[in-house]
Symmetry: C2
Subunit: 420 residues, 2 copies
Amino acid sequence: MKATIVNIGDELLIGQVVNTNAARMSQMLTAAGIEVVQTVVCGDNAEDIEACVARGLQAGNVVLMTGGLGPTKDDITKHTLCRLFGSELYENEAALDNVRSIFAKRGYELTDINRKQAWVPRCCTTIVNTVGTAPCMWFDSGKFASYDMDGKVLVSMPGVPFEMEHLMQTEVVPRLRAYFKMDAIVTKNILVQGIGESFLSDLIESWETSLPRNIRLAYLPVAGMVKLRLTAQGTDEVKLRKQVADAVERLYPIAKQYIVGEDAETLAELVAARFKDSGRMLAVAESCTGGSIVAGLTALAGASQYVKGGVVAYSNEVKMAVLGVKKETLEAHGAVSEDTVREMVEGVRQRLGADYAVATTGIAGPGGGTPDKPVGTVWVGLATPTMTFAKCMHYSGPRQQIINRTCNEAYAWLLREAKF
Amino acid sequence: MKATIVNIGDELLIGQVVNTNAARMSQMLTAAGIEVVQTVVCGDNAEDIEACVARGLQAGNVVLMTGGLGPTKDDITKHTLCRLFGSELYENEAALDNVRSIFAKRGYELTDINRKQAWVPRCCTTIVNTVGTAPCMWFDSGKFASYDMDGKVLVSMPGVPFEMEHLMQTEVVPRLRAYFKMDAIVTKNILVQGIGESFLSDLIESWETSLPRNIRLAYLPVAGMVKLRLTAQGTDEVKLRKQVADAVERLYPIAKQYIVGEDAETLAELVAARFKDSGRMLAVAESCTGGSIVAGLTALAGASQYVKGGVVAYSNEVKMAVLGVKKETLEAHGAVSEDTVREMVEGVRQRLGADYAVATTGIAGPGGGTPDKPVGTVWVGLATPTMTFAKCMHYSGPRQQIINRTCNEAYAWLLREAKF
C-alpha cells in the first residue's frame, strides 16, 4: 500500500492557502497503515494533473486527489479524469438529490451551474458527499482504457478541508482498508511533557526495544510536548488492543511523571476533557503568553462549561488593579518573578471565583531581556483549592515558540494537579 | 521562469508537520514574478529525491529544495545531490566558521557530527546561513556531469521555516532575479474589510479593467478580510512605483470605506503599526473570541508598548466583577446584546486605564444558539476617548471561522476609528 496525494489548486501554488489537506490526509492514512510516498500540489491545469496521476499510479497503488471540483470553468479535474480514463460525464441521480437537498436547506435556488456538481464520469463509483455539493469519485480495478488499474485505486475528493476530512473518515479510508483487505490497525497516543525528545528516547529505550514487532512507535514533538504514537498492525483486532494496552501499562512505571494523558492530539484537548462536566471552574492570568492559554481552551467547543475567564495583564497597572498584585512586590522583585506570578495566580483564582488557576509572566522576546532575566525566562504559577505552586522555566527560540511552550507547560501543570 | 518546490522530510509525509514552507516559498516566488508550477513533498529517500529533482528540472528552470540537511544519517539530501551532479563533499571554510560561531554563541562544544554541517558538494556555490548551521547550496549552469543545467538553477536550503525564510529573502530570491536578469517587480498590498470578495470584485471591476497590462491583481481572502495584491512588472522600477501609486490613488475614491490599510499581511500587524509609538494604550474585553484578539496582538513583538491588557469574560460573573457589567443589563438583555457589549467595552477601557478598547460577545457555536440569537450572532463594541460604538454581526461557518472573523472585525474597527 503506497499512496500519493495530489492536491489541485492554483491558490495553493501562489501560496494564498497553506496546504493543510496534505498533512491531515497523511495523518489519517499513516494511522490507517497506508504509507504516503509523495504529496504533490499542482495547478488547475489538465496536463499537470494527468502527469501527477500517471506518476502516482506508477509509484504505488493509491492516488488520492483533492480540489478542482467546483462548477466554474477553472475547475477541470472531472474533465481530466474523463480523458484519462476514456470516460464521459453524466448526471448522477444520488449526487443530484444531495445537491438539491443542500440548496433547499440553505434556501438557495438551484441553477444549471450548480446542477453540474452532480455530473461525474460514467466509469467511477460515486460517493455522495453529505456535507457539500461536490461528490467524491472512486475509480478502481479493470474499468479503464488507458490505465491498468488492477489492484489500484484513484479517489477524487473536494478540496474544502472539512468536506475532505468527513469523506476520508467515513468513506475513503474504510473503503481502502476493505478493498485491499488490510490488516486491522490499533493506534494509541500518549502525551508526554516536561522531558525533551532525546532524553525521553533514552529513558524508554529498553521499553521501546521490547515492543512486539507489529507495534510501531513514533515520536511527535510539538512545543515542549511529545506525542508518542503506538500503531499496532495485525489480523486480530482484539489481540491488538490487548497488545497495545499491555505496552502502555509497561510504559507507566518508567515514564509516569512525564505522562500527562492519552487519546488526544493536544494538551488543550486533555484539559477540556478533564474539566468539562467536572463542575470545577478555571481562570487564567497571562502576561507573556498574552491570551494564548485561554484562547487555546476557548477555541474548543464547550469551553464555557469550565472557563470562568482570563486576564491578560500585560502591564503592571493591570496586574495591580485587576489581579491585586502588590506594588511593593513589583518594585522589589519585578514583574517576572516568583512573588509576582504567585500573586497573579492567587489573585485571578480569587477575583474570578474559580477553583483552579494558572498564570504566566516572562520575557517572550525578541526584546526585553536582561543579563539577569534573559529572553525565555518565564515564571508559571498554579493555584488549586489547597495550594499555590510556581516555577521558573528557561526557554529558547523565537517569540512564538516561547509562547507555545509556556502554554503547554501551563496545560500540563493543570493535568498533573487538577485530578478529580 | 518556472519553479518547482521540493520539500524533503519523512515528518511531512506522515502529517506530523504541516508544510508551511511550500506556501511561504510560493508567496515569495509569486511576489518576485517567478511562477511556481508544482510543489512536491518527498521522504528522506535518495531515489525519490533524485526523481523529484529530475522532474523539476524538466518542468522548468528552477528547483528549490528544503530539508534533509541535518547531520544525522536520516538526512541524505547532500549525498544525493553529490551523486546527481557527479560531485563530492568537502569542508567549506566559510560554512565551518559560521557553525563555529553559532556553537560558541550558544556555549556548546563543537563535535565531529556538528562539523559535518559545513560539508558541501564541491560543484556548488555555498551561501552561508547566518541564522542556522546548515548552509544553503546553489547549483547553476555548466557545472555538472549528468544534467544539462544551462539556464537552470537548483538551490538546497534547510527546512527550518525561519532559516528558509531568511535565506529566501536575503539571498535566494535576489540571486534568482539577478541570474535570470528578471524585470523589476513592485508589489503592493491593500487590506480591505467589511465587504465580501464577490461584492468587492463587482465594486472595483472597472478600476480592475483599467489597470495597465503589466499590473496583475490578486484577491486573497482570509476570515472576512480581503488582501488585494498588485504586482507590477517591467524594466524601470521608478516607473513601476509611479504606476502602482497611481492605481492605488484611483482605487481610494471607489473603495475608501472598506480599505483599512496598506503594506501588511494581517490586520493585527496594521493595528500594531498604528498603536506602537503613538503613546495610546489599548484594552480588550472578550467573550466569544476567548482571548484570540489580544493573543493575535501579543504574538507580535513590541506589543507591551500599546497593549495594556485584556479580560476574557467568558462567564457572566466575570463580566460583572471584572468589567462592571450590570446585573440588570444581563438579566434584561442577555450576555449577547448591545447593552452588554457597550458596558463591557466601556468597563475594560476605564478599569484597565486604556485610551481605546474593543469588546466581543456572541455565540461561536456549535452549541448555544437560539432562534432569536443563532450561532454566529456576535456583538462587537469599540470605545474611544470620545465615543462608544456597537454593532451586531451575523456570521456563519465553523467555530474557529466565527472567532477569526470577529477578530478581524475588531481589528478593522480599531483601524477605522483610532487615527492619530
